[in-house]
Symmetry: D2
């Protein structure tokens, strides 16, 4: 049996399903007519009703479904500027953990952290980690770095022109800085680094973005920078693109791991042996023993960095506070460390790509705004603290899951908390 079993299994299931039906017709393009939805930028009760009329006639959606999405929407205009073709809202349940004590460069105090998820056991697990960390005196945090990047690409005629182009950029960087920063009250261009692959030059443009997550801000600023280059550069440019698929936007990449994108935060706590035993139901040495195996697993499976489940904490806090949930893809990278400190357990996370804002994006919507208010981190001057809270929360999740797996509790917790469904 030279062919792996899973290949045979899959083929058999397809054969079973399509024994009678001609697959050919099923998978070919089909040019029968259709009427596309009319796009709506500014939602109204009327536009919503029209969409639902269509959905209820064209699909299995029912009146009950319509009510489930629309009942809380008294003023659809509040969502303008955050979504198009609006048909209602999906309600994601929020659980609360805390107080989580944070002794940070920016975040400082005892925080209650709202987490939005539909996965049983997640909130309970993070709550347990937060309790252990707070019992240990709280988590030290520091934002180490910030800088959202856009990486436009320029296509030149030749390698020689690529060199000349870089020479021009270097000689005119002040002008470019001015063009970029003219588009924004908050963004500052902090570095421009050229990356040459023969006749193609990527410019890694890095910005601080004030208290916004800043992805639109840096797009607009970089567009201005590129237009300045395109208009003024004396070396002929064949093509340019606002993004060369290099910045790591919305995806895990090694570049993001090593140079950071968004805010880089480190968070740590040393758990006394007694806290590990009483609160987490395991021992320091058991957690360290598992840590060695988990580290090996991270290498052999080809992760970017090494961590257990940052994504759970990130997605839950991002959704609860109006951040861009798609950025979980790029934020869920970094390093979790657990090391002996005498009898105690040092635990840290370093997360290079936290993309959060305390202003802008979805932060102004009513329920998302409530999430930030629970943290006390809405508005100007709060983004750095918010990033530190996110990292501290992820550290709680790492502590709790490692303890659960080390103690052999992991499966039982999931069985117990999900069984009410």
């Amino acid at each position: 049996m030279t062919i792996p079993k899973h290949v045979r299994t899959m083929l058999q299931s397809i054969r079973d399903k399509f024994a009678l039906e001609p697959l050919q017709d099923r998978m070919l393009p089909n040019d029968s007519d259709f009427t596309t939805l009319r796009p709506v930028r500014k939602a109204s009760a009327g536009s919503i009703a029209k969409y639902w009329a269509r959905l209820m006639s064209a699909s299995t959606a029912s009146e009950e479904d319509r009510v489930a999405l629309t009942d809380d929407v008294t003023n659809p205009e509040v969502f303008n500027g955050n979504i198009e073709n609006f048909i209602g809202t999906v309600k994601v349940p929020v659980g609360i953990i805390g107080p989580l004590r944070i002794n940070g460069l920016h975040a400082h105090g005892d925080y209650h952290v709202p987490m939005a998820t539909t996965e049983a056991a997640l909130v309970a697990s993070y709550a347990r980690g937060a309790y252990a960390a707070s019992k240990a005196g709280g988590i030290s945090t520091a934002m180490l770095y910030e800088g959202v990047i856009r990486t436009p690409a320029f296509v030149l005629e030749s390698l020689l022109d690529a060199g000349r182009f870089v020479e021009w950029i270097v000689s005119h960087v002040d002008r470019l800085e001015k063009a970029a920063e003219a588009t924004t009250g908050y963004g500052k261009l902090i570095s421009v680094e050229p990356m040459i692959d023969n006749n193609v030059v990527f410019l890694v443009c890095r910005y601080t973005t004030g208290d916004a997550a800043g992805q639109n801000m840096v797009t607009i600023a970089t567009d201005a920078l590129c237009r300045e280059i395109a208009g003024e550069c004396t070396v002929p440019i064949q093509n340019w693109y606002i993004e060369g698929n290099f910045s790591g936007d919305k995806k895990a990449s090694f570049l993001g791991l090593v140079t950071g994108r968004g805010r880089k935060v480190s968070a740590s706590v040393t758990l006394p042996a007694a806290v590990v035993e009483r609160t987490l139901g395991t021992t320091v040495s058991d957690m360290l023993a598992y840590g060695q195996v988990a580290n090996l697993g991270s290498h052999l499976s080809g992760q970017l960095g090494a961590q257990a489940h940052f994504a759970n904490g990130l997605a839950a806090v991002y959704i609860a506070t109006g951040q861009d949930a798609a950025c979980v893809a790029e934020s869920a990278m970094g390093i979790t460390r657990m090391e002996a400190r005498g009898e105690d357990l040092f635990c840290s996370v370093t997360m290079p790509n936290i993309l959060v804002g305390s202003v802008g994006g979805g932060t102004g919507l009513p329920s998302q705004s409530a999430g930030l208010n629970i943290l006390g981190l809405k508005g100007e001057g709060k983004a750095a603290a918010l990033a530190e809270v996110v990292a501290a929360t992820c550290l709680c999740g790492e502590i709790s899951i490692v303890a659960a797996i080390a103690a052999g509790d992991f499966t039982r917790a999931h069985e117990k908390l999900a069984r009410h469904r």
Copy 2:
């Protein structure tokens, strides 16, 4: 100036902020008292009120915030089994795109796809891609593979024992299969592959999971498999762990890219030149020219695979249909291809790690259930089609963003749609 500017910038901002305050005290552990939240597994009006009383006294949360999270919650029990410490729901706006024509192995017909996001321009962009793809006769899709993995780790005394352990596993795999499958009505263990690193053995246990996303199912089944091994294996085992941080659960990993986790789906469409020009406002050759640069960017930035923004489509559909949003971290990998086909443009995505269920998880909650009903994909027998819809939707997003960047429209679209905020 041998030190990079961004390092100096960050240090200066810290110096400015903390010129007067002693950082030392700020970042040390602090053992003042605190009262942790009482955990609540079964939410009630009373438990919610108690939490809010605490939050409103301990933070900046106000009555308005309480209302924003709780007003639609008439029956909190509906969320039991999906969350702990429940305090309300966050409302994520949903936009609709379609009809998206899919000619798939499992999905077949014209779909309206609900997308939950707070990011302006996202829904409009996917809608444009869907329109182009449907004009071209629709998207061909096929689920190529399925198999969620858990990878328990066993620590043996020596390399020799590791070899003996593998020998034992291979000789008793039928018994292990029986133990694992006894825990589930749907899960099937389709392969067990040992991976040895000296005295540590990971067992890559791969399952089909019926119509559930299946992450809890495979945890419980694998726990039973491990307990069978721990109880019966004649080779002494020093330690075992339900997960060796190897499976790629909740994170991007090369293992997931290469071997797949969850459902692997490929989706493609050939866009006629006329559709590219009229619907997307650019040309086939411009899209191909950008594709070359984008591919280069994916290599140089160290992505896993090569794609533009799967995460946007994934997060939006996952949230709207009650999937696990944290799985965006592992799902947002794969390959987007664009190639000339005569005058036309072939576009495909292949996504190895789509984690969706049409049953279980958050799919039974009212507004999430509505999302599935809009697709007509709620309940048994629908998960494969749902995975194909997800991939087809991501393909629409890839088409639209590549066209926008190639045409130089990308920035303008974001400026225009976000400016109402």
Copy 3:
């Protein structure tokens, strides 16, 4: 200074150099005449003399250089079948370490290992590691796996055809196995795994290769397999290629790390505390402390696996024993672990991609053959033992370098041993 200093430094050095010369002309194509060398497959004294006449007239090569390359070549025909356009031999100095005690599945006994290198301190460092390991009772080794892969790619018309193609392959795998194995007396096709990306199918063809490294063997066998498919398959094939740049041949790839290519070997030894102190001049705890930092470095720098300098040992043994030195690129991956075992230090390496043969390739050349004879591992039935010796040697290198860095000796050793130059 938004532009990094290294960019400015490089630009300045180019400006300095080319201030007067027009770069344009220098870098443009130049169509002046030239006479290419006549290719020679079977070298003779005459062909060598002709080449040297050309080289000495066309370049700075002198009679002294000619002698340096040709003096030992009494019979150039011995090199036929290993090289074309032969002009002599380069003499790489060989140092010897040992005895290295190996208690392995295949290698068993005390080995003297020849290492060819021009880098000072390398042989001394490996010798020190070998001494420590042998003092500890020797290194346990096991070849865990073998299988050289070729991965031909097939381009089909569509995703549907790709599915049909895989169906055909699975149904005809016995025929393919026969076609492949007909080309070789030693190679066995042990698995064929299809990997689909829409309309492109890679077939991961894995072979055992007897005692040869086997890269040509698997190429020829796979070519026959492909021709069988191309001739017989009922699904139309648009194009096929003997290698889809997927196998990891001559390059580091995650696929190689996770699935292995060539021979996968694990080697370990537990060093008593006294051996660490007396032989290595450091302590177990100092080595472990450095190990934690080195592991962190491996993650943050994006290595494939985690190790210190496998490449040094691999290149030295490969060159000394007639292996393909270019395979260092794919072999120099894997995992080094150091862990406490009571007071002592457990050290292991697991190397998934050792590409060695005890027959074939350069192993029959006189001085390379001598290298194998020093090991007692020339000829049939010895390849598995040779792979284990390679891994054990690399483990010696890891032990020695970690000890040197932990003890702060690393720099001094290099200064001391290289200073005679």
Copy 4:
């Protein structure tokens, strides 16, 4: 059959081999006596003879083997400073290709390139690529960047101390620069970039190294820099290490791909359609069609960058010219691009990590020196040109292999040229 076939195959072969023998004893440590080789730093006829006496009594090495390694060694002292425990030289056959026309920033003219290998077909294939490139007017090259890095690691007590440590470094960088540069006449410290993971700080120290490859030079300079820090820094340092396993020394890493290590060179040529057809026996469109598949393969197999077989060219030129062959592991990364330019074919390689010197290392040994003299690139002022020649040579290899695979010739060439063995 849930267990993959290859696992069963391997287990069966072990069972067959060890049916009778008790494996336990075979793999346990063994403390019987042994006498280690006496280390020799300065080789002499006497020391060589002693080693051989030992080898011939302890292994299967014969007088014939001794002669094969020692016959050309008239003056063993020439190898002092390059190797320890010297027993002779291994003769690696050298083939010649050219003239290869290079129109480069540093290399300029028609070069004959010596390549040392034991793999049949390699030299012939590179020669073919060189002929095609030269027919096209030659290869444009530019060294884009240079900078060898060492990355010492400093362990501090806490995250707060890590911040203070970085502050100290930034404030004292001039002093560190002076300490580092005092150790070398050629090395210049061009940047120091701190990388923080909680309480651990890596300092990425980047140097230009004149005409040496420079790995020892940067080690010694960085050691001085570290000692200056250790002696002067006012923040308490718990431990420091000359290398945090972060620099990518002797291994492939994403850091090397992204930021470069050694010399970064780009090389390109546009091949007229007629040259592709007559010299390479295929067509531009066939090469491009294969290029698409090869690019896909590079992504799916998890390569660092995308290329075919840089390692072959690198190993052959490195060995022939006295470079460090182990550096093939880190050099064999980068990007190969092939794109249509009208009817013609643009081909480029960009290689970020070429580690070569025209002085130092093995470059002064007689036969290695001859290799450099054939190129006319021995001695001061030649390293940049040498790096460009290496990249141009690798481009020839990429052109030739892509053409061979596209044309279906790849297997035949290997069969034909290896069959004389």
